[in-house]
């Protein structure tokens, strides 16, 4: 079995109840596994939520995590999306301080990563970029020298291409 650690995206269907996220997080945290990213929202069935989380572990550990998660009464299913053909996206909001000098560079980066300006007032603007995790990382690297005021990332959302 693969000993090498890599990112795995787990997609869970769970009961949409107050305690469930804590159970899922505790199952990982209690065994010393860090959750790298986390996304939760209700599905088409309001009683059921989808949790998409990513962890960086070797395959044997991922298998153990999957088995521990599926034991939880409130968890209906666990699948490792990294093993399937999957579309993955992440969204980022970045607030930039605008100066006469950086405006042109920012516009170029927005264009390159197909982002858009969500709001602009006076000397600040908020940019939205939705892309792959790698592109988001690159966009941040490019924006950093231009003065990032603050930012928020959603973490990865992912969906299988087909059933």
């Amino acid at each position: 079995m693969e000993k090498q650690k890599k990112e795995h995206i787990l997609s869970l269907l769970v009961n949409n109840k107050p305690d469930v996220l804590a159970r899922v997080a505790g199952t990982l945290g209690g065994r010393g596994y860090n959750i790298e990213t986390l996304c939760v929202d209700a599905t088409m069935d309001p009683g059921v939520s989808k949790i998409i989380l990513s962890v960086i572990q070797d395959q044997a550990t991922i298998t153990k995590i999957e088995k521990q998660l599926i034991r939880l009464i409130d968890v209906h299913s666990v699948s490792d999306l990294s093993k399937m053909e999957t579309v993955m996206r992440e969204m980022m909001l970045v607030r930039m301080k605008l100066t006469d000098k950086n405006k042109a560079d920012i516009a170029l980066i927005i264009d390159t990563f197909r982002g858009r300006v969500v709001t602009m007032n006076g000397d600040h603007c908020v940019i939205e970029i939705t892309s792959t995790k790698e592109d988001i990382d690159r966009a941040i690297e490019s924006l950093k020298p231009l003065g990032i005021d603050d930012m928020a990332r959603t973490g990865i959302v992912a969906l299988e291409r087909m059933k």
Binding site: A22, R23, A60, K64, I70, R71, L72, I73
Partner: protein, 566 residues
């Protein structure tokens, strides 16, 4: 029919067939206790909530039914945590009901409020807080179902005071759909494969665990082992599932296991593990564990498989179903094996057994703890239910009291909870009022739940306590002797109460033996006494448990006595 939450609570318990509750009242439980007063449920008032959970646990282990505890909010609830964690590690089906402050007060740091849902999340199989009286009956049914199905475990149900006091329409729920598939499935491909492995194996071994007892599969295990003539070793949790008087019995393996069981594990070429989870106390160093064997692992919980030991044939199934379908296959295939085919393996085991039997050095001067247990076995003819505390008393019992039937050995295996045995014995005695129930204790652990003596006296629960009193926290002292050059840091417990006087103060019979010659007479007197008894045996202070595998060491390297250990 309009009923109050507290009335629905009683009805839902009755519907689950519950007749005994171990509990302790408190402010938020007043509505329930008022109903209990009117009901036919037997309520045992313990003296500490931890005792209530261990008693429910002992009741469950002895009877195979779900044990029930009822405690109040805040400290009442937090006092149950050790008992719950104990049941969780040993997969014991219990339901713990905790009172809670009224729903509008939850989260306000109200008097006697504790977030018991958050606290017990990692040590329960599942927990619920009932927020509306309309969901009460359904949640209670669900709680019992979860506790006893699949891999059993503790479930906690938190009951806010206002929910218990509100009214709703109540209709008895239809019984929940049947939980376990009791019809054996047709032999799977894997069963055929296991059969091939057995045919090829020259040195096969069965390793069974608590799952066989929890899954009520002892009969099936006996049939399989005898038909295939495979020797059986069992973890602490599985003792009794296979009769110790059977010639195929090898004793317990692991840290304080028999020499021959550990040697067999290290030399077998096929290991069939059933309902066990490869605890570190059993496997020792993982790299050398059963390293010559193909390993088959049957367990109802997929997360137990390939967790510690990587196996060749994983079978996720409850032990009973798996063994039934395998036995059926043996019959259909007309499987048989001759003694001749097993001769080399049996001879090897016999040689190990003769060379290094399980033994100890008895004395005429001073009582050896092992001698007390052997005498207890002789007098009870192995017919008693035995609970233990944790430490040396527990290991000596596992070694020197052979168990022939399941559900007769109650011991805290996973969590290793001192103070477990006595309340567990109380629970077992309530499940079987006519059986002899004995708690084998140490002088340290008996003091951890000693307050339950009052419970035993109040309800005339005739549990017999045998204290192996060496004035030390014996097992920790043993490690200090072996690994810390006899620096006995804070393990000397010789400052202790006079247990005979203590028993008398609680209104029990107290007895003491100080010389080996008195042991049998004191045991006989204690066992024949109709009520609860405390028997204080002043035993050799620095006796060690042997064999002993060094922590983290390979299990075939055992210290067999003091000289080898040092």
């Amino acid at each position: 029919m309009k009923l109050k939450g507290s009335q629905i609570f009683i009805k839902a318990l009755e519907q689950e067939g519950i007749d005994t509750i171990f509990g302790y009242p408190g402010g938020v439980l007043l509505d329930i206790y008022d109903e209990l007063h009117r009901s036919n449920l037997k309520h045992i008032l313990v003296r500490h909530e931890q005792g209530a959970v261990h008693a429910a646990d002992g009741y469950a282990r002895a009877s195979g039914k779900v044990g029930v505890t009822l405690v109040t909010s805040g400290p009442g609830a937090t006092n149950t945590v050790t008992g719950i964690a104990n049941a969780h590690l040993d997969s014991i089906p219990i339901v713990v009901f905790t009172g809670q402050v009224p729903t509008p007060l939850i989260g306000t740091d109200a008097f006697q409020e504790a977030d018991i849902i958050g606290i017990t999340r990692p040590c329960t199989k599942h927990n619920f807080q009932v927020r509306r009286v309309e969901e009460l009956a359904k949640i209670i049914q669900e709680a019992f179902y979860i506790a006893r199905s699949g891999r059993p475990g503790p479930v906690l149900v938190d009951l806010p005071k206002d929910v218990m006091a509100s009214m709703t329409d109540y209709e008895p729920l239809p019984p929940r759909a049947k939980e376990l598939n009791s019809v054996p499935k047709p032999a799977s491909k894997k069963a055929f494969y296991v059969l091939d492995l057995i045919n090829e194996a020259k040195r096969p071994l069965l390793l069974t665990g608590g799952g066989v007892i929890l899954g009520k599969a002892s009969e099936e295990l006996r049939e399989m082992a005898r038909r295939t003539k495979i020797p059986v070793t069992s973890t602490l949790m599985g003792l009794g599932a296979f009769p110790a008087k059977d010639p195929l019995w090898m004793g317990m393996p692991g840290m304080h296991g028999t020499y021959y069981a550990n040697m067999a594990l290290s030399h077998c070429d096929l290991l069939i593990a059933i309902g066990c989870r490869f605890d570190d106390r059993v496997t020792g160093k993982l790299d050398t564990f059963a390293s010559k064997a193909k390993i088959v692992h049957v367990d109802v919980d997929a997360s137990s498989i390939n967790k510690n030991v990587m196996v060749d044939v994983p079978i996720v199934q409850d032990c009973k179903t798996a063994l039934q379908s395998f036995n059926k296959l043996l019959m259909e295939q007309d499987f048989s094996v001759t003694d001749e085919q097993r001769k080399a393996w049996f001879d090897q085991i016999a040689e190990w057994r003769t060379n290094v039997p399980l033994t100890y050095c008895n004395s005429d001067e001073i009582i050896k703890p092992q001698f007390v247990i052997e005498t207890l076995y002789k007098l009870t003819k192995g017919q008693a239910i035995i609970a233990t505390e944790v430490g040396q008393n527990q290991m000596w019992t596992a070694q020197f009291y052979p168990f022939d039937e399941p559900n007769t050995f109650l011991s805290s295996g996973g969590l290793g909870t001192m103070g477990y045995g006595f309340p567990a014995a109380i629970g077992a005695q309530l499940a079987f009022p006519d059986k002899l129930v004995v708690d084998i204790a140490g002088d340290g652990s008996i003091q951890m739940n000693i307050q339950e003596l009052a419970t035993a006296v109040q309800y005339k629960i005739p549990v017999k306590i045998a204290i192996l009193n060496n004035g030390f926290l014996g097992m920790v002292r043993q490690w200090q002797e072996l690994f810390y050059e006899k620096r006995y840091s804070h393990t000397d417990m010789s400052f202790a109460p006079d247990f005979v006087k203590l028993a008398e103060a609680y209104g029990l019979l107290g007895l003491r033996a100080e010389k080996p010659g008195e042991v049998e007479a004191i045991l006989r007197k204690g066992l024949e006494h109709p009520g609860p008894v405390v028997m204080d045996f002043k035993v050799a202070r620095e006796e060690c448990v042997y064999p002993m595998v060094r922590p983290g060491g390979p299990i075939h390297e055992m210290a067999l006595g003091r000289e080898m250990a040092n």
